[in-house]
């Protein structure tokens, strides 16, 4: 496009005006999108760049030590991701060592009462709510919403006149009630999605990846490792990390609710002229 060409400038003005006049998507599109997102599994992601270069730069003994440490820590993080624990990594690592090496195999009854078993048997749900609110003063409403967010232990993101609050599931009703009192509710919705299948699938994926990493490390220890095998191990750890992020996100969804509030300023009311 030529910035100095008057015809191009006219085209740009005309197209920009068309874009500005385009309507916002209907709320039904958001509802359908949210349903698809909550139901569909996510694609495998690569959250950071490949570390193959630094692998090859390390001396062989250092690589062995690091590989062993990564398998242990990766497995630990994966365990924490599945179990949704809030304890520190060190504590979880300690728990794992005790469970694996010192204790006898778990009985069926013990398994049934473990947190992992609970996760498999109890339905896990996520709730998503939306409120379309007409308010008199948007900045003031945002301040009031911050106060509500603090009270309901919610984290709140603000962008212009959009608020997104994430809070413990038990606090959603109270938060919705308080937010709705800040203005005139034009529309609202509440949707519950069962995450049990997704959580189970995520746990199974983590477990399988951890086993693959351990098996590969055992082979490397027995037969010596080529750069290719080490890169395979590196890939596995990246996948474990991605699966762990998925698991944590799912856990967060299962224990927290999201409330999206869109605000619109009320049209100013015009006082009637006296004497008419």
């Amino acid at each position: 496009m030529n910035e100095h060409d008057p015809n191009d400038q006219r085209l740009r003005a005309a197209f920009s005006a068309r874009l500005d006049a385009a309507p916002a998507p209907d709320a039904a599109i958001y509802a359908r999108t949210a349903r698809l997102i909550d139901d569909a599994p996510r694609a495998k992601r690569a959250p950071w760049k490949s570390a193959a270069a630094w692998w090859t730069a390390l001396a062989a003994p250092a690589r062995w030590a690091l590989a062993a440490a990564l398998v242990t820590v990766g497995g630990t993080a994966a365990f924490q991701g599945v179990h949704g624990g809030t304890t520190s990594g060190t504590n979880v690592f300690h728990d794992m060592v005790v469970k694996r090496d010192s204790l006898p195999a778990k009985s069926t009854a013990a398994s049934a009462s473990s947190p992992a078993a609970d996760m498999r048997t109890l339905p896990q749900r996520t709730q998503t709510a939306t409120i379309d609110l007409a308010v008199g003063n948007i900045p003031l409403t945002i301040m009031q919403a911050r106060s509500i967010a603090r009270r309901e232990s919610a984290t709140m993101y603000v962008r212009t006149s959009l608020l997104v609050l994430t809070m413990p599931r038990a606090n959603l009703d109270a938060a919705m009630h308080s937010i709705e009192a800040l203005g005139t509710v034009r529309s609202h919705s509440l949707r519950t999605t069962d995450l049990t299948a997704s959580l189970n699938s995520s746990a199974a994926r983590l477990s399988a990846l951890r086993q693959q990493a351990a098996a590969l490390l055992a082979r490397l220890r027995s037969f010596g490792g080529s750069a290719y095998q080490l890169s395979l191990l590196d890939d596995l750890h990246r996948n474990i990390r991605a699966a762990e992020i998925d698991a944590r996100a799912l856990q967060q969804s299962a224990t927290h609710s999201t409330l999206t509030v869109t605000m619109e300023a009320k049209a100013p009311t015009v006082a009637p002229v006296k004497g008419t």
């Binding site: 085209l11 197209f15 916002a24 991605a242």
Partner: protein, 194 residues
């Protein structure tokens, strides 16, 4: 008009949001949705000319953003990346419905001297006229014009979005503008006769 109110974000903000979406942050996705959904819908609606199909495709685009945010490599602007997804989803939807959309003149060289849209564009303020004229263009021609003039994409960005060489983009822009001009002139002539 929630979408418009939240569209004033910077590319850096949106990259940060994509990072959070890649980590599974639903709140970040909601912000991203409200920032981009209107523009995505506007783009798709112009290409497919059908409100129901456009809404379905726009929803699919946002789902694709959620699923593949981790694949965003950071080379392009976030808007270009999203429009790239929108473009391919739109063409897929049209293919499924058997709509032919490839322009016939992609291989022909563009003549810079003939690039002036002409006097008919003076009346572009008449939006209804522009809408009708655009409807007469092919899908690919509508796409390049919209990407260039509505979204301010450069030719290399458009090439990335529509997955074709920059030279092809130049040719498409050239012919799209010429057809738009011819159509507008025809419409003006028809109005003059009426």
């Amino acid at each position: 008009m929630v979408g418009r109110r939240t569209e004033g974000s910077t590319d850096a903000d949106d990259r940060h949001l994509l990072g959070r979406i890649a980590a599974g942050d639903r709140a970040a996705f909601d912000i991203f949705y409200h920032a981009y959904a209107r523009r995505v819908l506007a783009y798709v609606r112009d290409i497919v000319h059908g409100a129901d199909l456009a809404e379905e495709v726009a929803g699919d685009v946002m789902v694709a953003v959620w699923k593949s945010a981790g694949r965003y490599a950071g080379r392009a602007r976030v808007l270009s990346w999203v429009l790239g997804i929108a473009h391919h989803k739109t063409l897929d939807a049209l293919r499924r419905r058997g709509v032919a959309f490839a322009p016939l003149d992609d291989g022909m060289p563009a003549d810079d001297a003939a690039d002036a849209p002409g006097a008919a564009l003076i009346a572009l303020e008449e939006r209804a006229l522009l809408e009708d004229a655009l409807r007469s263009l092919s899908v690919e021609h509508r796409a390049v014009l919209q990407l260039m003039y509505a979204f301010g994409c450069s030719q290399s960005e458009i090439a990335e979005i529509v997955a074709c060489p920059v030279a092809t983009v130049k040719t498409r822009v050239f012919y799209a503008k010429r057809r738009l001009r011819d159509q507008l002139e025809r419409m003006h002539a028809a109005q003059g006769l009426a």
